[in-house]
Amino acid sequence: MNARDEVLRRVRAATTDVTDADPAQDSPIDWIYGRALPTDDVLADFIEKVIDYGATVTRCTADDVARAVADALARLGAASVVLPPGLPESWAEAIGSGVGVLRDDPPLGNADLDVVDAVVTTAAVAMADSGTIALDHTEGQGRRVLSLLPDRHVCVVRADQVVSDVPEGLAVLGPAMRRGRPVTWLSGGSATSDIELTRVEGVHGPRHLAVILAE
């Protein structure tokens, strides 16, 4: 018997006490999926939680995003930035002349990305209660490696993308995941607590996360 058949046979033999073949009937789940949290001010909650991770949040109007991105890059001291395809051209135009702008089109090599200071992306959805931003790596969000190798990540989130909590966020992401999109969740920058459980921000991923919240 091959391994597949053998493992499946063992599983079958181990569950002969289960007589109802319908999982839903046999094992009901007392949970209502996709519910929102009754948060008074979802945006304020999101901002508070993101800041708690040591990231920064800048609020701006939708018209002012290009300038906010340029300011964030300047504040982070980025001398070079990579832009994924799909970002508004006005953002690139607003970036100061002292900052080298690279386009990931055609795709850059890992060695090139490793020496770029910063990346700018948009997001798919943001979840306030845990201060989490999700990327589904479609237009404007870039390949996974873009938001990984550069040391500073400027992430633009629209206010209408911010939901109260994880259940609503997963409901938004479900269709993309069912289409086979890879998804990455970011909650603050990379961090570790592996030495004496002392939190250190910034290990392998971007060490700085700057969120721009466009209203």
Binding site: G131, G174, G180
Partner: protein
Amino acid sequence: MTARRTPEPGSWLGIPPFPKAAPGALDKAEQRRNLRHATTSIREKRAERADEVADWEQLRTAAAQIKDRTLRHLEGYLLEAEGAMTAAGVTVHWARDGAEANRIVTDIAHAKGIDELVKIKSMVTQEIELNEHLEANGIAAWETDLAELIVQLGNDLPSHILVPAIHRNRAEVRDIFEVQMGRYGAPAPAAMTDDPAELSAAARSHLREKFLRARMAVSGANFLVAETGTLVVVESEGNGRMCLTLPETVVSIVGIEKLVPTVEDLEIFLKLLPRSSTGERMNPYTSFWNGPTSGDGPQDLHVILLDNGRTNALADPVGRPALRCVRCSACLNICPVYERVGGHAYGSPYPGPIGAILGPQLRGMDDPKDAALPFASTLCGACNDVCPVRIPITDILVHLRREAVDHKKAGRPSAERVAMKAAEWAMAEGPNLERAQGATQAAGRVLRDRWIGPLPLPVASRWLGARDTAPPAARTFRRWWRDHHDEDDR
């Protein structure tokens, strides 16, 4: 014989059964200080983060129910996951045991001419000792999680599910990095202090070249969604994203209990897991994928579905809930026994309360080390209350104790069995107990108020080594009652 390419790890084989290993662990004052500091602070953080979720108890119930549904209908969900992954372009393998899984990984590497790979922290690869198998086959496996790196470079063994180097403090880590990093790659910076930020920065630069060079990565998975074939890896440092993004080939070894039915089920587990494990509202990074994405990330994806004893646990309806475990380690952090002895005394990569129930179920109890594990607990029950998937850990411990005893009963009678037989008789009815109390009362009359101190008797010394004991009563309660109450009150 060729030289090793990776540091030689410590060996579980040299560790005696828990009752013999624990006293040695207790004697390590530095380790006890490190563990106490770490477990105390992490369990306070967990409590704070759990308390701020209004429906925490309902989440725990739902998580237990989802896992039970999955386990009770596992064959269907496995087939569904296999179908979804295959359709998404993942090569699905099956492994009956660790040796088979290790062979599959080696074969994939050999077929591609790969002689080194990077690893995401994974309990299952510790369980099957993948690294040593790869080393023996000429493949260097580099741990990239900071704590796993500390353990690997320190020729050590992991002692905690989440923080494998929890037994080490910053000064020890500094010493390990200073001596070892240069032997296996980029050396530690000169004049590195023991500041955790500097140590983390040293790990960043030591590992960066390995990430950029690697052509293959090995991961575990926190969840596998049956419906979509989506794999989920929860992490903090970004080493996981490096491994899952940069190499061309990723092999994920997934225990068959890791399934959940739907994408939506993740909303429950992704709220429970980070708060229970690191005491954070959310871990810094979570990666979801279910197949190669053109132009983005690895293009050759493999998943190995592993049994390795899980169907033994599945077959026992009392022990089955142990397979709900999401490896958060909340039970370790709250356990007073774990806090004092640390993980190594448990003799396997799964220490603490969950290890004491999972290990004997996965491996059986033929080995005295495994048979001792269900007894490595005071049954204080603190673990039950923090488990995010409501595993009735102490109930399973008591259940496994019975199995261990039944196993032992096949052998020659022990002093313990004689004592338990005597207790069985004494407690079978009141008059029997009263007869046994004849002896305790006689002792009580002789001793009067004198406490019993150290006695060099085999079993008594285990109690009296550091504890006195008051004498038994010269007159029992039931005698008192008879003297003070009428017949009709009895």
